[in-house]
């Protein structure tokens, strides 16, 4: 019963918004936060119960019915998503009086739809269900991106929608071919029979899946839209895009890849694709002067780093990938929320404005997030990068190792430039007020970056377990369809 709640509750909330909004001006905002807090509590209680993988049937048993699989790996993602969404809602609640969104009830519907779809992507064990959640997450994200209906926002919404629609066509094509050849939509059944298919069919399906998901996991030739979308959307929404949405797509792509896509040459291709994406994103990030765009390029670089780590397909590297996922989600969330706090006066900040702003608190917080993104020791970002480099060295992949190091250096160049701007001595004219509630959220995010960085062992075991579960193809098949 429990894992279905993660999807059912936010969806139910989405449909109940017209009723809830009649209860009073603030009813919707408070019930939304309350619901997300209870989901977070549920996820934490599942974590503490520490049970093994559970399968939750929706109607009938595995090959025919639809089921959600809650393993250590998917629990980790669910925990991360609910935590970030709760913090997001709290942040929105604290700054809501000053600048609330227009038509707030729609905004809350979209937020909870996005949460339900991201969790659905992670939990689902049926490839057509994955397609449906893929679309729900997409549609909510398009609307959130175009929400303010300025020319800029609409343009980013249109670009997001066009690429998303093309991506979903290729994904649907892949699913159709899979069903025609295997005769099932269940991931476990497909995993069992996929290796028996002719080579050409396997290659075609893999390529279609790569194109379909490639748009969403922001891998090099298919990521041209990302920076425009980030620039047109509000910083608040960007925090969700880089903290939750991309991570859900990345997880489900590699979940499918480990289960049934061909190994060997294809994996090597993915590794170098990730490496090239990383370098291209970081080099393009160097000459950006718009803060949102700059952070978007840095997001692309970090997502490509996670892509490389997942594509390594061994336990140490996947564990490193989970560390980077956590580090990047927390740090980018902080940066984009800080940007949202700074942007109360003006949208689309030029980097020069960092010299003008007088808010030591926000500066310190952005500093912490940047240090973690760069992988400075004592921050959780360091743990992830270190583990990844170690496993690249163990595997003898020196070219990729050099690529990762070079990309990190390039990233360091523009982050140090930003830090220089923030430390710039001179008169600071723009005073930015940050309320106590907002401060608490920044402090808790910053503390978690530091604490996880100083005591990585506290979660290392859990993450290693998650990596083992994610990579174990046979256990997944036995669990769903029996031996």
């Amino acid at each position: 019963m429990s894992s279905t709640l993660f999807i059912a509750l936010p969806l139910l909330f989405g449909f109940a918004t017209p009723l809830l909004s009649r209860l009073g001006k603030n009813a919707l905002a408070y019930t939304s936060v309350l619901m997300q807090l209870s989901l977070l509590g549920l996820a934490l209680s599942l974590l503490l119960a520490h049970s093994s993988t559970t399968v939750e049937l929706i109607s009938i048993a595995a090959p025919l019915g639809i089921s959600f699989v809650l393993s250590t790996a998917s629990l980790l993602m669910v925990l991360l998503f609910t935590l970030l969404m709760t913090l997001f809602s709290l942040y929105y609640l604290f700054q809501r009086r000053a600048n609330a969104y227009a038509n707030e009830s729609k905004f809350f519907t979209l937020l909870n739809m996005l949460l339900a779809a991201s969790i659905g992507l992670v939990l689902s064990s049926d490839i057509f269900n994955i397609y449906v959640f893929f679309e729900i997450a997409g549609i909510s994200a398009y609307i959130l991106s175009a929400y303010s209906k300025t020319a800029l926002a609409l343009e980013s919404g249109l670009k997001y929608l066009l690429t998303g629609a093309v991506a979903s066509i290729f994904l649907l094509f892949a699913i159709v071919l899979i069903y025609l050849h295997v005769g099932s939509l269940n991931l476990a059944v497909i995993a069992e029979q996929f290796q028996l298919l002719p080579y050409n069919v396997k290659l075609l399906i893999s390529l279609l899946l790569l194109i379909g998901f490639g748009f969403k996991v922001e891998v090099f030739p298919l990521n041209f839209w990302v920076t425009d979308v980030y620039q047109g959307s509000t910083s608040l929404v960007n925090a969700l895009f880089s903290g939750i949405v991309v991570k859900a797509y990345l997880f489900v792509f590699f979940h499918i890849l480990y289960l049934f896509l061909p190994q060997g040459e294809f994996t090597l291709f993915l590794l170098y694709l990730g490496g090239v994406s990383m370098l291209v994103a970081e080099v393009a990030g160097l000459r950006q002067t718009n803060l949102k765009r700059l952070f978007a390029y840095s997001s692309l670089g970090q997502v490509a780093l996670i892509f490389v780590a997942f594509a390594m397909q061994n336990i140490q590297a996947v564990q490193a990938a989970f560390f980077i996922v956590i580090a990047h989600s927390l740090a980018k969330f902080m940066l984009f929320l800080a940007l949202a706090s700074l942007e109360k006066t003006e949208q689309n900040m030029h980097i020069d404005r960092l010299k003008q702003i007088d808010s030591p608190f926000l500066m310190v917080m952005m500093f912490l997030a940047m240090l973690s993104l760069l992988g400075i020791p004592l921050f959780v970002g360091f743990v992830g990068k270190f583990l990844l480099l170690k496993s690249l060295a163990v595997e003898g992949m020196l070219t990729l190792l050099v690529m990762v190091v070079v990309a990190s250096f390039i990233e360091a160049i523009y982050y140090f430039k930003l830090m220089g701007y923030m430390l710039h001595k001179g008169t600071r004219s723009e005073k930015v007020e940050v309320s106590l509630g907002e401060k608490m959220i920044f402090v808790s995010l910053g503390l978690s970056l530091l604490l996880l960085g100083v005591f990585p062992m506290s979660i290392a075991g859990f993450l290693q377990n998650a990596a083992e579960v994610l990579l174990d193809q046979t256990a997944y098949i036995t669990l769903l369809v029996g031996g």
Binding site: A151, S168, V176
Partner: protein
């Protein structure tokens, strides 16, 4: 004279060739057209091609509709209902996305008067 067209192999070949040529017509439109509505139409054509391909290849003329009643109880002689259920869902989703896209395009046109995708460059960098 055209009885040979009723053979399953011939039907499947025609469906595959037709759907794939439709798919590439859509892809060509997507890559070459600049007007935003034409781009959306190209996407709709590509989607329809996949719907046709799936329904065409999974439908068998010899089998009956998958409805169990007093006269029909043999599951083996029925068509597989899953492809049709899947495609119905996909049509609804595709329709919703297109409607949303067109509404964005209309709002954008009202604000800026632009319809060509290569002139959509509010972003300066």
């Amino acid at each position: 004279m055209f009885e040979f067209l009723n053979q399953p192999e011939v039907i499947k070949t025609i469906v595959t060739l037709g759907a794939m040529s439709l798919f590439f017509v859509g892809l060509f439109g997507l890559l070459t057209r600049k007007h935003i509505v034409k781009v959306f139409i190209s996407i709709a054509i590509m989607e329809s091609a996949i719907f046709l391909l799936f329904i065409g290849l999974s439908f068998n003329r010899e089998k009956v509709a998958p409805i169990i009643d007093a006269t029909q109880t043999q599951v083996a002689t029925m068509n597989d209902p899953i492809p049709q259920a899947m495609i119905l869902t996909a049509i609804v989703i595709g329709m919703a996305v297109l409607a949303l896209g067109v509404s964005f395009a209309i709002e954008y046109y009202k604000l800026t008067g632009k319809t060509e995708i290569d002139t959509m460059n509010e972003m300066r960098f």
